[in-house]
């Protein structure tokens, strides 16, 4: 398993496509807590996969002022189709070219399979990692850790 960046480290900045014609930079989100959810691939074959689950819990994240960004190595068109199919209300970042660059910066890349780990980061308003968690890749970690980390952030 990977060695992901731990709490206290500055969150590496990135600028990445979230739609075919739109980019998102982490630094743009400064001032708000950010949840980065790395996951292996779009289209997991279960209802209530990790992204669909976070989509449901999104209002709870928003109540805590947080912004959620999903990250996988899938391309923008794949993300777009996936987001549309699952009615996702939050951006999916395409860590596609150079492949896995963001995941590597966070220590959350699986070199053998060429996909992201299932890894979670809560970044505070100043851009510092407040909490991180690496889940076994086959286990959807749920959202309890994220909610707890957000609730523990200084107001």
């Amino acid at each position: 398993m990977s060695n992901i960046l731990s709490a206290g480290r500055p969150a590496p900045d990135f600028s990445v496509h979230v739609t075919p014609d739109q980019k998102l930079s982490l630094s743009e989100l400064r001032g708000k807590p950010v949840i980065l959810a790395f996951y292996p691939a779009d289209w997991s074959p279960v209802c209530g996969d990790q992204m669909a689950l976070y989509n449901e819990i999104l209002p709870e994240f928003q109540k805590l002022g947080a912004v959620l960004v999903g990250v996988s190595v899938d391309g923008v068109w794949c993300h777009e189709a996936f987001a549309k199919d699952r009615h996702l209300q939050f951006p999916l970042a395409a860590d596609f070219e150079p492949k896995g660059e963001i995941a590597k910066a966070y220590g959350a890349y699986r070199t053998v399979e060429g996909v992201c780990e299932r890894a979670l980061f809560v970044i505070d308003r100043e851009g510092v990692i407040a909490w991180s968690y690496l889940s076994p890749v086959a286990i959807n970690p749920g959202a309890d850790g994220i909610l707890e980390a957000l609730e523990n952030l200084p107001k």
Binding site: G48, Q50, E56, E60, H87, P141, D144
Partner: protein, 174 residues
């Protein structure tokens, strides 16, 4: 290790012996086909363990992908207030393919519940806060899809076929 953030309490729908050595809690969605698959399995597990097991069902409707999940949960809660939660829970799963307003009214009628009261409750969203509270508690407990089971308060990460679930319960009973 994810744990139940809200312990089993008097507000829960509990089936079986409430002081049983082992408690099984399911967070489920009436429209989720996997919960539909789990429904008869849970019944078998309950029968197998008898008095040693209690079973609690809490709502975790995935509303973005299952449009009837939340209304169905409210119908079950309505029935619950009239002492017929489990009857309605079972009927909803048994008729999972046909969820919708017509079915809800038919099932209420079948259980001798007032369809007028049901319609009022649904229109005024009387049971919505209860369903949302279940969901929120589930999110804080590490529910990671539906169904998610907790055995003695700890999230069961394995599959939910009869053998896997019973084995996990046996372990908790040891």
């Amino acid at each position: 290790m994810s744990k139940l953030s809200i312990e089993v309490n008097a507000d829960d729908h509990i089936q079986g012996n409430s002081t049983a050595e082992c408690s099984l809690v399911e967070y489920g969605d009436y429209e989720c086909p996997h919960c539909g698959t789990a429904y008869p399995i849970v019944k078998r597990v309950q029968k197998h363990f008898g008095k040693r097991l209690s079973f609690v069902f809490r709502n975790f409707p995935l509303t973005q992908i299952h449009p009837w999940a939340e209304p169905a949960a409210e119908v079950a809660e309505f029935a619950g207030v009239h002492g017929k939660f489990w009857e309605m829970h079972d009927l909803l799963f048994e008729n999972q393919e046909n969820l919708g307003e017509t079915l809800f009214l038919n099932l209420a009628d079948k259980l001798d519940l007032s369809t007028a009261q049901l319609q009022t409750a649904k229109a005024s969203q009387t049971y919505r806060s209860r369903v949302r509270a279940d969901f929120s508690g589930g999110a804080r407990s590490g529910v990671n899809g539906t169904p998610t089971f907790f055995i003695n308060g700890r999230r069961h990460n394995g599959p939910f076929d009869f053998d896997s679930l019973s084995e996990a319960i046996e372990l908790a009973l040891r």
